[in-house]
Amino acid sequence: MRRPHCVAVVLTALVIAACAPGSGSAGSDAGTPDGAGEINTDPASLGEVTLTVWDQEVRGGQDAQIEALNSAFQDEYPNITIERVSRSFEDLQATLRLAITDDEPPDVVQANNGRADMGAFVQAGLLTNLDPYRAAYAWPDRFPTSILSYSSYTEDGVTFGEGSLWGLPQMGEVVGFYYNKALLAQLGIDAPVTWDDLDAALAAAKAAGQLPLQFGNLEAWPGIHLFGAVQSRYTPADQIRDLGFGRPGAEWTTEENLQAAQTLVDWVDAGYVTPEFNGITPDDAWQAFARGEGVFMLGGTWLLADLMDAMGDDVGFTVLIAPGTDMPVATGGTSLPFAVTDATEDADAAAAYIDYITSSDAMKIVTEKGNLPVVEASEQQVSASLQGEAFAAWDAVTGSDGLLPYLDYATPNSYDLLTAQVQALMAGETEPSEFLEQLQAEYESFVGG
């Protein structure tokens, strides 16, 4: 058995000595000045084109709107064929890296905003810079800066939230307080507008024997949202933006952030949040809220449809005004932006497609299918009161530039760190100061290095 052994050793050595991983990828031709030449904004003149589009709009209303827009686009421009590949968010997350480095990647992909995805793709030169199209299609006329910043990176992919544009989203999402109208009426309280109002309402609910705040954190991401909301009460918006986008110049270990962390602990101690919240799934939490367990629940607009179905007109949605200002501030973001790959030969058609599915007409279809359009929300006709409240909240937050990034955007490791740390903080395993020091260490090692 000597010979095969040698063969194996030689083979192993050969493979290890062979090309480094990633050397054959499409990204190696990065640096070619894409979009520097002429661009064409008339899709009808582009000849026969097939666009392969990878999206993750697989849920009910999201799937309906993209299907409607795809067929409308192909009807209007019969020379362009859309080949849609739809995957769930997790599946897209897991396969996009392989697909986008393939020799023939898809033309249009939905890339998650954060550094681990869009940031890494920009850094690797795998996406087309959309700046020429931004000007040609006059996107900034319709999209506020705070929205565009979620799809903006500097060309080197290092700075998030500014620089060139790499994608465009269709839908918005904002995290606010859902409230049970019937329970609030029983307590004789109006829907809160400011944080002080919320304090009073939480205390009144507790005194009346109700559960003030429904919260389920088994999957750990709701913790980021709850901390983000409370943080927006104390910490100035521009500081949160620097922290959230992972830009230098801010600090976690401030008095304001300490107040925010302490507030979460106080809420747990006062019995404001659901007992054993770390053992309750977020789905169970909103279902309990829909059954009337809990006066308030912090949640994103992605719950609109489900809560409307379950509670009808009994549920309201609000974002709170930051103290010392008159504008509402809230954590939120956009749906995954559609981006154009660098290797595509049909960048013009791809950009035209993205412009089409984010146009004013498209926003109407997005609304019709039950989603929150990323822009022009207040111009849409909606029948249900909850949808109207959410649209108004979104418009107020984005209109006053009060939209704050999800804190886990900051660094590739932030999501895991924050989720674990908020669970520990609220379970009393970590002191508030210790909690902030952990976040500060991660932030420093990222912006410093």
């Binding site: 083979l11 192993t12 493979v15 290890i16 062979a18 480094a20 991983p21 990633g22 050397s23 990828s25 990204g27 190696s28 997350q93 897991a94 890296r97 392989l98 986008i100 480095t101 681990a116 890494a120 793709f121 850094q123 690797a124 795998l126 954190n217 088994l218 999957e219 750990a220 007992p275 054993e276 919240f277 770390n278 053992g279 309750i280 799934t281 169970d284 590739p412 490791n413 999501y415 895991d416 989720t419 674990a420 740390q421 669970q423 520990a424 379970a427 395993e429």
Partner: protein, 313 residues
Amino acid sequence: MSAAEAQTATSAAAADRSARRERRGAPPGEPRRVGYVYVAPALVIYAVFLLFPLVRAVQISFYKWDGLTLGSWVGLRNYADILADPALRAAFGHAAVLVVFFALIPTAVGLVLASVVARARVRGLTFFRTVIFLPQVVAMVVVAVTWRQIYAPDGPINDVLRFVGLGDLARGWLGDFDLALPAVGMVGTWVSIGLCFILFLAGTGKIPRELYEAARIDGAGPIREFVSVTLPAVRNEIVVALTLTVIAALRTFDLVYVTTGGGPGNATTVPSYEVYRRAFELGAVGSAAAIGVTLTAIILLLNLVIARIGEQP
């Protein structure tokens, strides 16, 4: 000339002769070159889908690679990081705890159950066998979703505790920093017991009743009977059971992913989960490969040890 030396000499001479006679005298069943042709199809598939990815993973583990751009050679740094990173060490520690719950406890319980059944005729044995084996048949994701509900703060376990007046013990099991890992481990115990029980039952089934009768006549009690008759007879089954369950424990991914996602805090992260997280969420493919290779090596090593235990008389 000892027997062994004589044999070596003859066989060497025989080899000489057979070389001249072109294997004509080789006994039937002796390996010949044509054998490689028979195994080639399987070997090719094995090489393409198993050996090549394995070698490639080892290769990647020596690089710092984000899965997108050109990787850079870092030598053994990824492996050094595994040792240096307390979070990763904790993940391997959690896997060790899971081995107790997935492998050791089920093997012990399975042995006791099987020996009890072997001693006495049990009515409706087929029924019990099916019921106990059932968790093995159900997909792990389904098991995990179900147990997540069982462990919920208002789930059945807590309901029972409150009903019997132990309401103080009721809690969100998967959200408790100290109890989440044992809670996840208990699910593994529940799943593995069936496999162990069935294996040991098959093993004890082979033992002739006369052996037990003889032991009883010699005055052996139930425990002596177990140690002297049952245990030696099912040695091979124990090796198989331990091999399968230890592998299941160390590569646990779906159970953790669905029930706790590694939480609360990092109380239930395991190496496989770290591989997934690093490769697909953080874009640290080199580090993920290093963890994967380390895990593979540990599994291999443990199985060698288990096999060795099985060999000893």
